[in-house]
Structures are given as structure tokens and as C-alpha cells.
């Protein structure tokens, strides 16, 4: 107890905290936002392709479906920490370095995009065959069906998927420390775990909990607003 009081009354403690936490929070948010965005940029087309090439859909093509499905499964089965290391040459090619926040983003995107593809796939599969058939009967092209039927009709479910994906990526950023990506998770490991700084552990975990709650709450609220069934 006395220890704590001395610690909290020491201005140097607050000084170090204010140097560590905001920076880490910044890194986490940066990694999460950018990699979620990029993962969706890649994942949506893959998810759409998986759905429309499936049996009895608008452009059935068992080969594309199978090959794409297999690639996605392979990437999803590689443990993230291994993926980070295995991707190093590729990462260097893309962002010019294999360490740091940017490098972590590459690994996060490569790992999250296949996951997003599956999330998008399952959301789009909820759109009833009848609605798609109605659109076909009106002369809609495949592209119009994707843009005007599949994606808008699955909006609510897609938004819930974004919340799940974002939260997953937050959890993964903790491992980004392995390549010097920084972030709150890294602080928790470096200070809280390696140096027995329970205070650091508590603060970072608390902030992460708040962020996760906030994301889930916004996702659920928005999804409810978009849901008209």
C-alpha cells in the first residue's frame, strides 16, 4: 500500500506513463483501423467471389470456389506468430521494412483478409435465393446483383462481422510486438508481464476492454438500425 502511494505521488511515474500509454494507444488504433480497412478491401471481393461462384448462385464455378476456398483455409490455419515471421520477405517488399507498426499491419492484413472473406461469405449467404431470383427476373446483371442486392441486403450482418473482425484484430495486435509493432498489447507484455508491472498490465487491459466494448456496442447498435426484417 505504501509502495503504491509513493509510486502514485511520484511525478516521474506519471511522466513515464504519459510517454508510454498514449503512444501505445495510438499505435493500436492505427494498426487496427488500417488493417481492418485493408482486410475488408481484400476480403469483400474474396467473400463475394466465394458466394457467387458457389453451386446454384449467379455465376457458379466450382473451380474458382474450390481453389479460393483452399487458399483461404491455408492462410487461416497458419498460426499468426508464424505468419509474421514467414511473411518477413514479403513485408519488406511491400512496405520496405519487416519491423515496426507498418510491418505488423502487413501481417495483420494477410491474416485477417481470409477471415473477413469467410465472414462476408456467411453474411451474403443469408440473402434469400428468392430475392436474387427476383432481381434476375428483372434483368439484373451479376454486378448489379452484387451491388444492389447481395451487399445491401446483408448490410446488417456485415456490420456485425466488422465488429467481430475488428475485435479479433485488436487481440492479434498484441502479438505485433514480435516485430516491434508496438501498441497496448505490447506494453502489457513488455511492462506488465516481463517486468512485473501490474499497474501497466491493469491500465492497458482496462483500455483494451473499453475499446472492445465500444466497438461491439457500436456494431450491435448500427446493425440493429440497419436490420429491417
Amino acid at each position: 500500500m505504501e509502495n503504491l502511494i509513493t509510486m502514485f505521488s511520484d511525478p516521474a511515474y506519471w511522466d513515464s506513463l504519459s510517454r508510454i500509454i498514449p503512444k501505445a494507444l495510438n499505435e493500436t488504433l492505427y494498426m487496427v483501423i488500417v488493417s481492418t480497412f485493408l482486410a475488408y478491401l481484400l476480403g469483400i471481393p474474396m467473400g463475394v467471389l466465394l458466394v457467387i461462384t458457389s453451386d446454384n448462385h449467379i455465376l457458379p464455378n466450382p473451380w474458382i470456389e474450390r481453389i479460393l476456398g483452399t487458399i483461404i483455409n491455408i492462410f487461416r490455419s497458419i498460426p499468426f506468430i508464424i505468419l509474421i515471421v514467414a511473411l518477413m520477405p514479403f513485408t519488406e517488399l511491400v512496405v520496405g521494412t519487416y519491423i515496426g507498426t507498418k510491418a505488423a499491419i502487413v501481417a495483420l492484413v494477410v491474416s485477417a483478409a481470409p477471415f473477413v472473406a469467410r465472414m462476408v461469405e456467411s453474411s451474403l449467404k443469408e440473402v434469400s435465393a428468392g430475392v436474387i431470383e427476383a432481381a434476375l427476373s428483372m434483368g439484373a446483371s451479376p454486378w448489379q446483383i452484387i451491388r444492389k442486392v447481395l451487399l445491401p441486403e446483408a448490410k446488417s450482418s456485415l456490420v456485425l462481422g466488422v465488429a467481430i473482425t475488428t475485435i479479433n484484430i485488436i487481440a492479434y495486435t498484441a502479438m505485433a510486438g514480435a516485430v516491434g509493432g508496438g501498441g497496448l498489447g505490447d506494453v502489457a507484455i513488455q511492462y506488465g508481464y516481463n517486468r512485473y508491472r501490474s499497474d501497466m498490465m491493469l491500465i492497458t487491459v482496462f483500455i483494451l476492454v473499453v475499446i472492445v466494448q465500444l466497438i461491439q456496442w457500436s456494431g450491435t447498435t448500427l446493425a440493429k438500425k440497419l436490420f429491417h426484417r
Partner: protein, 338 residues
């Protein structure tokens, strides 16, 4: 208007094949309300879905407005589909769009300019009686209202044909009547050709001008509704008709009557004005038979009266013969039951 020539559809899986339609030939004239009736599994849904190529026929051709549907390229087919409206049993509305945005949908697909779209929607909403619900979502509507949206949506691009796939099968009887009335109104107003797939004879009876009966992948009979109702040839057609005009006598009664000497049971079908003539008293007076009325009913077939009277006639064979000839001479259809 619509010609279906030698149409067949076979579904093949790796294991076996199933013939859904075999050698279908139909002509659907412009402005007709053409009913296609069959039990589930008879192939009727496949037939209507072949008409706009939602299902690819295995062989044969479908010609709509002079266009051979089976020969069109993907792009041409999409363009042609814009002039063929379709409504569905489960409505198939876009859940994420409001009533008016659902009606906008086919117009967006057809690439209409915004201004024209707004104007068209303003015309369609009152036509289906949904001005008040323009901003509601499908989930907030009743089944009948949903189908009205479906109809407005199908009519948006001014099609020349409307395909109805079991459009009233998910609705209660009252709502069914109101939807059928709406279809009839549209048919008369725009001279729109309507093709209706159904398993309910009531639908045929209410609005169809022509009917085709489909059974086990074949059209077993077809023709103007009146002639099919008066003189059905196939067992399926007879069954369907007796579902709306029951005139089956109890077997026990038939057995009893069969014991009587010089007795014959006939069913007399009549249509239109014949219903209001004093035929029975003339029959008794002129043919020297006694008449026992067993069963009778009268109803509307579209807007004409249609009825059946089941009679027991007693007399000598010559008298009975004369009686049947007399009835036939009065333009009635006579069916000898036993």
C-alpha cells in the same frame, strides 16, 4: 404472343435424371389471363421459370413477342427480361428497401433517369393502393400488401407479360380475392398478358380466360376455361374442377339408386343464360320422364354463370334417350353418371 414449342426440361445429377417437362406445346394469346394448374411436382413452376429463362430448357423453344428466348445472349436476355414482369409466392421483396424503393429497383436496373423513376413510382403506388405505405419496410406489411408491392414492382418497366408463380398461395382466401381482382384490373387496363401458375382451381375460376392442366411433366389438356370446366377430359382436370364445384354423390346413394329399374343418373352442366330457363319442367312435359333432383350448384366462372345439376331420370330407354337429346338440344352438356 407467347409460343412454347416442344419444350422439355430434364434435371440431371451425377446419379440420375428427372424429367420435369416433356414436349410442352402452348400458345398464350395477347391479353389472356392464362392459368396453368397442376399438383405440386407436376412441373408447373419449372414451366413458368423456363418462360423467362430462370431455368434453361433442355430442348424446345419459347417465343415471347417474336423473340426466341432460348437464343438470346446474356445481355439480350437481360434486356428482354425487363419487359417480362414476375411475381412470386413469397413476394421476394428487398428487405432493406422501403416500399417505394422496392418499386424503384427494377427501374434502376433498367437504367431509367432519376426524374422518370420518381414519376413512375408516383403512378404505381396508387394503382396498387399503397400510397400510405410508401415509406414502410416489407417487414411492416401484411402478405397482401407485400404482394401489391410485388405487383407494382413487376409492372414498373411497363412489361407486356406478367408471370405469376403461385402468387396467391401464401395468402388467406380474402386477400387472394383482392389480389386476383387487382390482377384482373391490370389485365383489362393495360391489355397485359398474364400467366398464372397455381394449384388452386379457385384462382382459375375467378380470373383466367384459358387454362392448361399439367400433370407429370405433360400438358394433359388446355383450352378456354369454360370448355375445360364443362367438359373436362383428364382425370386431374375433373378432380380440380370438383374441388371448386363439388358434385360427387355419396357412394351409398349411387348404390341404392342403381337398384331401381329404368333409372339413370345424369349431370347437366350449364353456362350463362341457360341457368335462367325453365328447362326441367319442359323436360318432364316433353319427354315423359320423371325427374328427381339429387344435387345442384351454381357459381360464377369469371363473370358468367356456371352450374351443375345432378338428376335421376326415370322412364323407358327410349324416353331416357329422348330426354338426353332434348337437354343437348338446349345447349347443355350432359354427362351420364350411371
Amino acid at each position: 404472343m407467347i409460343y412454347i414449342n416442344n419444350l422439355s426440361k430434364v434435371f440431371t445429377t451425377t446419379k440420375d435424371s428427372f424429367t420435369a417437362l416433356e414436349d410442352i406445346n402452348l400458345h398464350i394469346p395477347k391479353g389472356a389471363i392464362y392459368g396453368i394448374i397442376g399438383l405440386s411436382g407436376a412441373g408447373k413452376s419449372t414451366l413458368i421459370r423456363c418462360m423467362n429463362m430462370l431455368e434453361n430448357p433442355s430442348s424446345g423453344e419459347i417465343i415471347i413477342d417474336g423473340q426466341n428466348m432460348t437464343q438470346l445472349s446474356g445481355k439480350e436476355l437481360r434486356k428482354t427480361r425487363q419487359s417480362i414482369g414476375m411475381i412470386f409466392q413469397h413476394f421476394n421483396l428487398l428487405e432493406s428497401r422501403t416500399v417505394s424503393d422496392n418499386i424503384v429497383f427494377p427501374l434502376e436496373i433498367a437504367g431509367w433517369p432519376k426524374k422518370k423513376i420518381t414519376q413512375r413510382v408516383r403512378e404505381l403506388l396508387p394503382l396498387v393502393g399503397l400510397e400510405e405505405r410508401a415509406d414502410a419496410y416489407p417487414a411492416q406489411l401484411s402478405g397482401g400488401q407485400k404482394q401489391r408491392v410485388g405487383i407494382a414492382r413487376a409492372l414498373a418497366t411497363n412489361p407486356s407479360v406478367l408471370l405469376c408463380d403461385e402468387a396467391t398461395s401464401a395468402l388467406d382466401p380474402q386477400t387472394t380475392v383482392s389480389i386476383l381482382d387487382l390482377l384482373k384490373e391490370i389485365n383489362e387496363k393495360f391489355n397485359l398478358t398474364i400467366v398464372i401458375i397455381t394449384h388452386e382451381m379457385k384462382v382459375i375460376k375467378e380470373i383466367c380466360t384459358d387454362v392448361a392442366v399439367i400433370d407429370q411433366a405433360h400438358i394433359v389438356e388446355h383450352g378456354p376455361v369454360e370448355s375445360v370446366f364443362i367438359n373436362p377430359q383428364s382425370g386431374v382436370a375433373k378432380e380440380f374442377i370438383s374441388s371448386v364445384f363439388p358434385n360427387q354423390l355419396p357412394a351409398q346413394l349411387l348404390a341404392e339408386l342403381a337398384q331401381r329399374p329404368g333409372s339413370q343418373i345424369i349431370a347437366v352442366h350449364f353456362l350463362g343464360t341457360a341457368a335462367s330457363e325453365p328447362i326441367i319442367s319442359d323436360l318432364i312435359r316433353q319427354c315423359g320422364v320423371t325427374v328427381n333432383i339429387l344435387h345442384g350448384n351454381i357459381d360464377r366462372l369469371r363473370s358468367t354463370l356456371f352450374g351443375t345439376l345432378t338428376l335421376e331420370l326415370q322412364g323407358s330407354p327410349a324416353n331416357l334417350q329422348e330426354a338426353r337429346e332434348y337437354l343437348t338440344s338446349r345447349n347443355l352438356t350432359v354427362e351420364v353418371i350411371q
